[in-house]
């Protein structure tokens, strides 16, 4: 894997749970639908892992609620939505992310070197 792609994978790994909570907070979604919502925002799941183990962890930790319902013309799917604990975790996580992002930006802002990716 190229260095850039590897870094993106590492960065995404730390916040993918927040991204999943965020997209399912827009409306209940099943697994592939969440992948689609992420991809529509330019966030492709590449590299290691996938969303399924992470969804399993969120479910185990009580951060999501699930229910089964028929999808559009397809088989019944398992839908996920954030629980109240999940919304709280999302809010806290977003604050942490913004603080970390601002701190990193402050460090990287003076850097003049830019390479097209």
């Amino acid at each position: 894997m190229a260095l850039g792609a590897q870094r993106r994978t590492e960065l995404l790994r730390g916040v993918l749970d927040l991204c999943l909570l965020a997209v399912m907070d827009e409306g209940p979604a099943y697994g592939y639908e969440m992948t689609r919502r992420l991809r529509d925002r330019g966030l492709a799941i590449v590299g290691e892992g996938s969303i399924y183990p992470l969804l399993g962890r969120l479910e185990r930790d009580g951060l999501v609620e699930t229910y089964r319902a028929a999808s559009d013309g397809g088989p019944p799917r398992k839908y996920y939505r954030p629980s109240s604990a999940g919304r709280l975790a999302l809010g806290l996580g977003v604050s942490e992310w913004r603080a970390a992002r601002d701190a990193v930006d402050a460090v990287l802002a003076p850097v003049k070197v830019e390479v097209a990716s």
Partner: protein, 178 residues
């Protein structure tokens, strides 16, 4: 696609995942893979590198859901034998020291139990034993040779170490990468 789901099913069966849960995960996965394929999205885009390793993917998913024991992290897996090795080495060293002390003659070191403010007065034995002081009598009556204590502790510790080693060998889970 169905081959990937079948391999996941096999892995879940091997790991002892209950059939209803395995059926549910397999159905969801098959539906998602089917929908992705219909939209021209590859399995790798949906599953990442897990698309090439269905067994690890299945084990990871089941472990994260909490329906099988979570695999040990590599770090703690390495630390545990180190602690065991150190413990076993210490027990063996103690055994050797105790054995050497016992073989090299009369025990010379004693643990002496004393009670502050408590005066134990023993009448010294009469002849043919030589006269002794009250302090010496106190030591002889309340002390235990440390060599024997060390030997006993070392044997118990070694037995415990053997038990730990045999259990550790049996309880090591299969390595799973996420």
């Amino acid at each position: 696609m169905s081959d990937f789901v079948d391999q996941c099913r096999q892995e879940w069966r091997r790991l002892g995942v209950a059939d209803p849960l395995a059926d549910e995960m397999a159905a969801d996965l098959a539906s998602d893979l089917g929908e992705a394929e219909a939209e021209g999205v590859s399995a790798e885009e949906l599953l990442g590198s897990s698309a090439f390793d269905p067994r690890s993917f299945a084990a990871s998913w089941a472990a994260e859901r909490g329906i099988i024991p979570t695999p040990q992290s590599r770090g703690s897996g390495r630390r545990r034998p180190l602690v065991l090795v150190a413990f076993t080495a210490l027990a063996a060293l103690t055994l050797i020291v105790a054995a050497l002390l016992l073989l090299t003659g009369q025990p010379k070191v004693s643990l002496v139990a004393t009670r502050a403010g408590h005066a134990h007065v023993f009448r010294p034995p009469v002849a043919p034993f030589p006269p002794v002081t009250s302090r010496q009598v106190l030591q002889a009556n309340t002390s235990a040779p440390i060599e024997w204590i060390l030997l006993f502790l070392a044997i118990v510790a070694l037995g415990f170490a053997v038990w730990l080693w045999s259990n550790w060998g049996r309880s090591r889970p299969p390595s799973v990468s996420t």
